[in-house]
């Protein structure tokens, strides 16, 4: 009986943590358990969710993408100036996502075919993409207007927004790709043991290239979500987002050494971070305290994950 319970606990550990955090805030903050709170949280989710999906893929493949926050800013900057230049929202959005994909492609080409360490390449992109975002916006916040906010207007039923629904769809598709396709197997194999993967006929370079491109495209899409959320683009957007995405992935049990991770769990990691941010703001704790709590939760999550990994043998 107790071993059954333990196994069940193991499997749903992340989800249980999320529920515990929700319960804590429900007790501590007035009006926390309300439709408005949840719709506010859902509105904030899409950008971090998409970036985390990309990050989880890259981490499982044995890499890391530090540039996602900057690429998000670059993409939203491209969208902002495209709209300001008179292009329609869909064209501008496409341009933004393309910019993200190109940044990912550059990361991938340098990281896989020039054999530079991915950590360093994406660190470079973190600076370069941020600089490019400042350059093209002239360091100014660009107002886009309410047209783009259609993405974040709740649809009549359920109160879910198109942005949230598309992020959710991407989570489901990404989870499926990782667990049930040939490509997903290749990503896991390369992240676990690149040499053995090569001997088994998988091209580790190409796999890493595709994964980094994917992360760039998703960061570009996240840029669109962020621009829609704010109705304007700020070249400072998304700074530090790479750390939030890594934290969400790690809370979800993704290994920084590659090979292990789950998109659904990472998404719950995203929910934990978003709920934490919102709940702490509703309680009205000070900024320094928020950061202390967030840091403690991240480390705690890794401790729990280690405990879980040890038990499974």
């Amino acid at each position: 009986m107790s071993s059954m319970l333990l196994r069940w606990l193991n499997q749903y550990l992340v989800l249980i943590s999320l529920l515990l955090i929700l319960a804590t805030f429900a007790l501590a903050a007035e009006n926390f358990l309300s439709f408005a709170t949840f719709s506010a949280i859902l509105n904030q989710l899409p950008a971090l969710t998409l970036v985390t999906v990309g990050m989880t893929f890259v981490l499982i493949c044995g890499g890391i993408d530090l540039s996602v926050g900057s690429v998000l800013a670059l993409s939203s900057a491209v969208i902002g100036i495209s709209v300001a230049a008179g292009f329609s929202i869909p064209v501008a959005a496409l341009a933004g996502v393309t910019a993200g994909g190109l940044a990912g492609l550059v990361n991938g080409l340098l990281g896989s075919y020039l054999r530079l360490p991915v950590f360093i390449v994406t660190l470079g992109m973190l600076e370069a993409a941020r600089g490019a975002a400042y350059l093209i916006t002239d360091s100014q916040t660009v107002y886009i207007g309410s047209a783009i906010q259609g993405l974040v207007q709740p649809m009549s039923w359920l109160g879910l927004t198109p942005a949230f629904i598309s992020a959710l769809v991407i989570v489901v598709v990404a989870h499926f790709v990782l667990t049930s396709t040939v490509f997903g197997r290749h990503v896991i194999a390369v992240g676990t043991n690149p040499e053995a993967a090569r001997i088994s006929g998988i091209d580790p370079k190409r796999t890493l290239l595709v994964v980094l491109c994917l992360s760039g495209v998703l960061a570009g899409l996240a840029g669109l979500m962020n621009a829609a959320y704010l109705g304007s683009t700020d070249p400072n957007a998304g700074s530090g987002l790479e750390l939030a995405a890594i934290a969400a992935a790690v809370i979800g049990g993704t290994s920084l050494m590659g090979g292990r991770g789950s998109i659904f769990s990472a998404f719950i990691g995203v929910l934990i971070i978003a709920v934490l941010q919102n709940g702490l703001a509703q309680i009205g704790v000070s900024e320094p305290f928020k950061r202390v709590v967030t840091g403690v939760v991240i480390v705690l999550a890794v401790v729990l994950d280690r405990w879980r990994a040890d038990r499974s043998f």
């Binding site: 049930s180 396709t181 040939v182 490509f183 997903g184 197997r185 896991i188 194999a189 676990t192 043991n193 040499e195 053995a196 993967a197 090569r198 001997i199 088994s200 006929g201 998988i202 091209d203 090979g259 292990r260 043998f313």
Partner: protein
């Protein structure tokens, strides 16, 4: 005097050692043999302080031994050469050898270190410069350096766990000479190995372990390999060797012409047929691994060609992917670093080289995968708790079978194997041999490199001998024996080295 072990117990999830009693007289070499999982490695881990015993006592030279940690064991004069090599890639040979006892009070006495290192290396007949970085060494050289590191300290008790798994016969002989000298000067030696001939030749006394207990012990003079195998496995059917059968080789399947890569010293040409097991013999560093890597396309070819023949069709291979597409499979030399995907399931490890068979348009079909893997588990008699068990939970022999299953799943026509039975227990080794024969009989072309001459002699239809990167001679079954092959292996070395 010497080592007395009584009632030693150790449990992990299940008992690994049960009331083990074992004595080693000082100045003697005692062998410990047993299948994987018999408890040999655990015994050595306890003696060297890497893990604590559950119960029991250990007495060394009359004093009770308390090895709470490796440092305490080291102070007590115990030196272990473990199966997992513990060398540091970014240090050179001398620094690695001297790591446990670096000379010099404040600074490092590099001259003294180099002198000590040179004398050890020459004792072991290892032709290496003390300043060579360990990262650049191959597996056999690393194992020799690890041994030198173990022998560097003045030990009362020497523990060796599979010390010759990566070594060729010549190298192993050199090690044995050194061990005999150490024993003569009063040290006790505990020697764990799967190479039963070595154990019988080297050791004064042999202990056979099965399921954590001593099931037999006797002076080595009273034992034979067949007896040892019978005691280890509890059955004697495994000792059969089929040496007589005559393979009838089919047409040429693999044709290598003047193949050269950056890592090879000489261009090599050879032909292998369908329906034959083709052996690659040679001393350490003769270039067997480099040749297999080149055929498989792991290293870009500088010149020459590798051609696969299919009827009239001629397929030139130049990369790993081309090789795999054309039906070539590879079992690499280093299972842990190049073979298995640790942490992942047996099923994942089995199907990874050919996912098309268990997928429809890139979508995996779990049921199809499970069926395919279960069939292979049964066929290869892989001992696992199921297709979802993580591969590192299997014994070395079963892990190796999974890697073979990977290529059976792929259905290849040419199989390249580099040291396929290293660190594998006797039963699994014989099973792998039987499987290779079966594949040969089905018309596959099997190329196998091994540093264990006995393995090649019993298994192969033809044996090519490499020496200093050169393919010196290819022997047919009726031409080869231990002497002809060794003579060829040494043919490019001068006679002084042979002596």
């Amino acid at each position: 005097m010497g080592l007395q072990i009584s009632n030693l117990c150790k449990d992990y999830a299940t008992p690994v050692l049960r009331n083990l009693d074992l004595q080693v007289t000082a100045g003697e070499i005692h062998g410990v043999v047993g299948e994987n999982g018999a408890g040999k490695s655990t015994l050595l881990k306890i003696l060297s302080g890497l893990t604590l015993p559950g119960a029991g006592t250990v007495v060394l030279d009359g004093e009770p031994l308390l090895t709470k940690n490796p440092q305490a064991a080291h102070r007590a004069g115990i030196s272990l050469c473990s199966q997992e090599l513990s060398l540091i890639d970014n240090l050179n040979v001398a620094e690695n050898i001297g790591l446990r006892a670096l000379p010099g009070r404040l600074g490092l006495d590099k001259a003294l270190l180099a002198t000590r290192c040179r004398s050890l290396l020459s004792e072991l007949q290892l032709d290496l410069l003390p300043g060579t970085m360990v990262g650049s060494l191959n597996l056999a050289e690393r194992q020799m350096v690890e041994l030198a590191k173990t022998l560097n300290v003045q030990a009362r008790l020497l523990l060796l766990d599979e010390p010759t798994s990566a070594l060729n016969d010549q190298q192993a002989q050199a090690l044995h000479r050194v061990l005999r000298e150490r024993a003569k000067s009063g040290a006790s030696v505990l020697y764990v190995s799967h190479r039963l001939n070595d154990v019988l030749n080297l050791c004064d006394y042999v202990w056979v372990l099965r399921d954590g207990e001593v099931v037999h012990h006797a002076p080595s003079g009273q034992l034979t390999t067949a007896e040892l195998i019978r005691h280890m496995s509890g059955a004697d059917a495994l000792t059969q060797r089929r040496k007589d059968e005559s393979g009838r080789p089919g047409p040429i399947h693999l044709s290598v012409r003047n193949l050269l890569t950056e890592k090879m010293q000489q261009p090599v040409s050879l032909d292998c047929h369908r329906g034959e097991i083709f052996g690659l013999a040679g001393l350490m560093g003769a270039g067997r691994t480099e040749l297999l890597d080149a055929i498989y396309g792991l290293v870009p070819h500088s010149s020459g060609s590798v051609v696969l023949c299919r009827g009239e069709e001629r397929i030139a291979l130049s990369s790993v992917n081309a090789a795999i597409r054309s039906g070539v499979g590879m079992v690499p030399e280093n299972r842990a670093s190049h073979g298995i995907f640790a942490g992942l399931a047996v099923a994942f490890n089995t199907t990874i080289a050919e996912l098309g068979r268990i997928a429809t348009r890139h979508l995996l079909k779990p049921r199809r995968e499970k069926a395919a893997v279960e069939k292979l588990i049964q066929r290869l008699n892989i001992k696992s708790e199921g297709v979802d068990q993580p591969i590192e939970a299997l014994s070395g022999g079963n892990q190796q079978k999974v890697i073979l299953a990977r290529w059976l799943h792929r259905e290849c026509s040419l199989l390249l194997l580099d040291e396929p039975t290293r660190g594998v227990d006797v039963a699994a080794k014989l099973a792998i041999h039987d499987l290779l024969r079966e594949l040969r009989d089905q018309g596959l072309c099997v190329v196998i490199a091994s540093s264990e001459l006995q393995e090649l002699l019993t298994l192969c239809d033809r044996i090519a001998v490499m020496s200093s990167g050169q393919l010196v001679r290819t022997f047919d079954r009726d031409e080869f024996n231990q002497d002809t092959i060794l003579a060829a292996a040494f043919s490019t070395h001068n006679s002084a080295q042979v002596a």
